[in-house]
Amino acid sequence: MRAKLFTLLSAVLLMVTVVLAHGDKKHVVGTVEKINAGSIVVKTADGKSVEVKLLASTMYVSRVGNEDKSAQLSDLEVGDRVVIHATPNGETLEANEVKFSTKGAAAAAKSKP
């Protein structure tokens, strides 16, 4: 009887599993290929086009020199360099934050020694 009880308890303990959380954010890095009404298409370094959905809660940050400044979607242009922090939702990526530097700003920063 005791052995059965011990076996049952052991089985119960084995069933108790610790769930390890996994990071769920994706970083999409590349240049803006297209700006749609509700999404941005980013051309990544390996030549792929990745579409990221824009939400009302998406935050826009403009990188100027060594400073981050809050920005708007209208500040973003095709050709800008972007780093998008996005959350996968099914097959789509939803942007939490779009950080970008304009073509001019990136070129100016690159030319500095």
């Binding site: 990071g23 890095v29 990544t44 935050m59 940050v61 990188r63 809050s70 360099r81």
Partner: protein, 232 residues
Amino acid sequence: MDTRDAATLSVRVAFCHWFPSPFVDYHEHAMSRSNVILLVLLAAVALAILAAASLLHNGLSSRATPTSFEALLARNARHLAIPADARKKQNPIAASPENLRDARLHFADHCAICHGNEGTGDTMIGKGLYPKPPDLRAAETQKLSDGELFWIIENGVRFTGMPAFGGTHGSEEDSWKLVQFIRHLPQLSTDERMEMERYNPKGPGDRAEENEEEDFLHGVPMQQKPESSHHH
């Protein structure tokens, strides 16, 4: 005796068995009391089995979200656990931009790993907790008194992921400043959030990735994989 009479009689017998008349003798009364105790014990065992079955059904996973009933019970238990005089305490720290900034950076460094810089609780750790951290901007949190928020920061909340910070670091002044910051969370600006990001604890991998992304924004060609998973 028809079926209906038999049923009525059996109910009467059962009633007298469980709820004896005060005029029955001591022996009968004692027996009934022991039966009541047995009944209560059986009910407790049945409840325990139900609770265990419910837990095992969910695999004891902390991924689950507490039911609204559980949340209601927990909120009320927390409310009762906070002493009345602690609830009435007023924030002794003057509201100033300097104090708010101190609290903001303190929050970014100590609290944001679970609560997120915006206080939403939408973080890797926050999503994995049971119960999930509350949205600090929401009415359920904002309607707590300053004293209640302070007490929770100082003493934590048992059976949740909220630790007691009182006596382990900083001072009560820091906790009162955090109370001010929690009040400010619904109006957190993008600039404030960006400043907080610089104070969020990060591992070497995250730092390296962040530096590569910064370099990319400064015109350096991308060296790493174009898409990467990020654990925050």
